[in-house]
Amino acid sequence: MQYLLPEILVAGSALLGLLAMVVVPKVRGLASWVVLVGFLAAGVDAATMWNVTPSLIVYNSMAIDKYGITVTELVLLAGISTILLAWNAEHFGEEFPVLVALSVLGMMGLGGATSLMPVFLGIELLSLPLYILAASRHTPEGGEAALKYLLLGAFSSGILLFGMALLYGATSTLIFVAYPGIASHAQVWLLWPGLGLVVVGIAFKLAIVPFHMWVPDVYEGSPTPVTNLMAFGTKVGAAIILLRILAFGFYGQAGAWGLLLGYLAVLTMIVGNLLALPQTNLKRLLGYSGIGHAGFLLVGIATHNIQGAQAMMFYLLPYGLAAIGVFAVIRLLEQGQDGDRGVILSDLQGMAYQRPWLATVLIVGMLSFAGIPLTGGFVGKFFLMQAALFANRPGFAVGIVVGTLVGLAAYLRPLQAMFQRDGVSERVRTMRWSAAGVMVVAVAVVGTIGIGVYPAPLVHIVSQSANFYWLKGG
């Protein structure tokens, strides 16, 4: 049971935060502190479990292994950055940090899940707080975003649940790590539709084309810290559970899903980056960018080799770091005039000259998204490309190249706006730095450049954690 301590700490901090609101309502921001401390404690505790012998717990429904620990650290990073970006933002409501903690708890559950039950619980636990969080600004756009997200989320949950039922019918177990032995002689008329439905259900969360349409509206309508959590945390949770189900549970049947995922990946990379091109709202642009990056992540799963799994896990961190950096810039701009109104490209005018440090953060983040050398994004794309070529799938590699090229144009547009000389926008002039924001951008910039220049430590971690085939023996 001590292996579930990180989860318990996060859940406990959520409850304690609720309690604090009731018991000492006078102290503002106490819940944020409680949750932040809970996140940090969970992160430290998870790190100490790094060398624990991998094992299955809770009736083989959860795994304790390096894969789960890495996921825990990633989603905690997403959670901490979200809390910091919403620091002192009282108009989001006092329950904001508590809901973030619950959502992060769901993502953590996905990291360790080895049965369809925790998969479903995890996905619902991460989604339900997000439906509420999306509306926490109490504006018409926020309400619309939340409602859309809720309706389509419910729709996709239905698909996911139906798929799980079919899989259960085919194999008579929910523990998907046991499937490799069963799947080959299971009832194919239940098995394949079941798998297809599950993939679609998760692909909705991951924002794969054509299940992506909710993303730009919801990203735009939600408060920026919430968008940050959706872009980083949700993506981590969905991508890694898809990898564990497919690459392990359906290891021997890669012929049935590998190429399909590849088609979806190429489609997603190209459409996502292409639609990012004409966007003028920065958060919408990031929404499409997130779709494009989901395509890159999907390549790592579709290659179905160990390099692909490692590359996908590797890519999560540079993507996440760049995302929190850029969202932090948006958040800092929102702290000036006009408040939470969406940041559009013309709001960036003159930033490179008036606010060189803020501009640097945006440059680093955008170049990492675009995959320019010396940033983590480049190294990640390189690994994905390598995995595609090792898997003898040159088509995937071509898709990566085309997606990257189109994406480059999209990511350079904000930078172009930023370097425009004629005048400085009101937003840039009136933006204010906050200590929490500075912390987030510092981590984002240092991490992005650090991974780009010296990727060896992360490669080491990823190569250990993407190896979850110990499950075969257990």
Binding site: I159, P210, L260, L277, S463
Partner: protein, 623 residues
């Protein structure tokens, strides 16, 4: 770690701290701090070499892996440091001679308001050069290689207010980049074939290969192009003369004693590769010899004290390449060592003269300075005797070793040219010496104000002068020291020092003495002015180094500029228009796709349903 990291890190600390605090710290502190750090690094280098000497002869090498740098891209590449007798010698010269030059620069740069920047760059250079020689694999070597080029660029252009300095810095950088690209491609070829870049792995593989394959020829040529650019071998030699625009300590340290010998180091390091590419080895020797005589003749009529020394550096580098090319590796390294002593001494003494004359560099304005600067004159004389190959001064032994082995190995033509060049060297060096220090003062005004340099400058000059006298006696010791380095892999059967034929020694020394007498007769007895001979044909040509610069301009600069202009015009019209057209097309398409994103939830759900149908159909088809 045997102190390798410390050797490397001390100058880096200097560069960083000076760079960070140069605007707040006292002005003079930067020089003292930089000097102390380089001397400390020298102490660590001595300790490391002593440790190396304590190892058994068969395993005389120290490898340190700082950390894995590139992993996951195939075989990992690490930050390897590697110390063996060969790099040990370079370490001592870089930090030892470098330390003396740092000390000297404290006096030379004393009046410069920007000396913090100078010493920051200077320490950066020392760090880069140490990285270059301590590198355990070709990639780290290339990083050092690039960084010394950067430091050289920054220091040549140190007085950036002068357009000529900026131009010279740019020229050096461009020519060196040619070499860097050569090394990069050669390195890539080796990596693709052997999946490794460390010396030990590559040389181990070379040991089992047999010569003659074109692969080795190409790799060796590409790496040689790198060496050629850095060591200013003909025809990539023009930048070194222009590099004299930098402050004189820079010329002494970078463009005489250390950086320009990096090419010699690389070729000596790669002796197992040269075994596999005998044609390239011959080219190394032949181009080296040609550079030697070409530069010696170009030095005959130079009017600038530093330019004479620059051409003589080119010429001496040619000797080193001759040694390496004919397989006389120890002799080449030996000449590198003695050259570092006497050429640094010459440059520093010339710097003292320039300093004493308030910045005058034209030898036509000098003369009779021996009375005013006795210490400088004596050191300069010792170094001149050394470079001219007069026994028993340092240069005699190393030059004899190279020429003797060129003869022994049957390179008669190269040997002959080398002997003639020795005589020419003696002539132009004594011409310089006599014109500077003897005869009647040609500019009485300058002469009146001339003064001996302060002690902080004369002490390093004298120390180097002493080394120029005794440096030749290190030969047997060096021979013994370097033996393990050149016996570790096959490819250097004649690496040890050999003595040449007596007739060769007599001929070379005889020519040098005759040249001395001629120089004496011309410039002391008949008091020929410095500018004599440069009006007419041979002199004018030789002064312009046979029009090498014009040649480069006509062959490379002008056509490339024309091609660039042409391409830009064509691009602007044709290709760019096409690219813009495609971009616009994508744009329109993306704009067109936008209406699909209507905002209606039912449409979004429909999209999901369509996707689901496709996925299900695909799954069922596969099933």
């Amino acid at each position: 770690m045997q102190g390798l990291t410390e050797i490397l890190i001390l100058p880096l600390i200097g560069a960083v701290t000076i760079g960070a605090f140069k605007s707040v710290a006292p002005r003079r502190l930067a020089g003292i701090w930089a000097t102390v750090l380089v001397l400390a690094s020298f102490v660590f280098a001595v300790v490391a070499d002593l440790h190396l000497a304590g190892l058994t002869a068969g395993h005389r090498e120290i490898t340190v892996t700082l950390f894995n740098w590139v992993t996951g891209f195939g075989p990992p590449i690490a930050w390897n440091l590697y110390l063996d007798p060969l790099s040990g010698i370079w370490l001592l010269i870089i930090t030892g001679v470098g330390g003396l030059i740092h000390l000297y620069a404290n006096g030379y740069m004393a009046d410069d308001p920007d000396q913090g920047r100078f010493f920051g760059y200077f320490n950066l250079f020392i760090f880069s050069m140490l990285l270059l020689v301590l590198a355990g694999n070709l990639l780290i070597l290339l990083i050092g290689w690039g960084l010394v080029g950067l430091a050289s660029y920054l220091l040549i252009g140190f007085w950036y207010q002068r357009p000529s300095a900026v131009r010279a810095a740019k020229k050096a950088l461009v020519m060196n980049t040619v070499g860097d690209v050569g090394i990069l491609i050669g390195l890539a070829l080796l990596y693709v074939r052997y999946h490794a870049v460390t010396y030990s792995a590559l040389f181990g593989a070379f040991s089992h290969a047999s010569p003659g394959s074109p692969f080795f020829g190409w790799v060796a040529i590409l790496l040689y192009i790198g060496a050629m650019a850095k060591s200013a071998q003909f025809p990539l030699s023009g930048w070194l003369v222009d590099a004299m625009e930098g402050p004189t300590p820079v010329s002494a340290l970078i463009h005489a004693a250390t950086m320009v010998t990096a090419g010699v180091y690389l070729m000596a390091r790669l002796y197992p590769l040269l075994r596999l590419a005998p044609g390239v080895a011959y080219a190394v020797a032949a181009i080296g010899t040609f550079t030697a005589i070409y530069a010696a003749s170009a030095a005959f009529f130079q009017q600038d004290i530093k330019k004479v020394l620059a051409y003589s550096t080119l010429s001496q580098l040619g000797y080193m390449f001759l040694g390496v090319g004919v397989g006389a590796y120890t002799a080449g390294v030996f000449h590198f060592m003695t050259h570092a002593f006497f050429k640094a001494c010459l440059f520093l003494a010339a710097g003292s003269v320039i300093h004493g004359l308030g910045g005058e560099q034209d030898i036509g304005q000098m003369g009779g300075l021996y009375k005013k600067m006795p210490w400088t004159m004596v050191s300069f004389l010792a170094a001149t005797l050394a470079i001219s190959g007069i026994p028993p001064f340092a240069g005699f032994y190393s030059k004899e070793a190279i020429l003797g082995q060129a003869f022994n190995s049957g390179h008669d033509l190269l040997w002959m040219v080398g002997v003639i060049t020795a005589g020419m060297t003696s002539f132009y060096m004594f011409r310089l010496f006599f014109l500077t220090f003897f005869g009647t003062p040609r500019n009485t005004d300058l002469y009146q104000h001339a003064h001996e340099a302060p002690a902080v400058m004369t002490v390093p000059v004298i120390a180097l002068g002493v080394l120029s006298v005794i440096g030749g006696f290190f030969g047997p010791w060096l021979n013994h020291w370097l033996r393990p380095a050149f016996t570790a892999y096959p490819g250097a059967p004649h690496a040890a020092l050999e003595s040449g034929p007596t007739v060769g020694t007599v001929l070379a020394v005889g020519l040098a003495v005759v040249a001395f007498v001629v120089a004496y007769a011309l410039y002391i007895r008949r008091a020929v002015p410095a500018r004599a001979g440069i009006e007419r044909w041979p002199g004018r040509w030789m002064l312009a180094a046979y029009g090498l610069d014009t040649g480069w301009r006509d062959v490379a600069v002008v056509p490339l500029m024309a091609a660039g202009t042409w391409v830009r015009r064509q691009l602007d019209r044709g290709i760019l228009t096409a690219v813009v057209g495609v971009a616009n097309g994508i744009w329109l398409w993306a704009e067109d796709l936008r209406p699909i994103q209507s905002g209606y939830v039912r449409r979004y759900a429909l999209s999901i349903m369509v996707g689901l149908a496709v996925v299900l159909a695909y799954s069922l088809m596969k099933a």
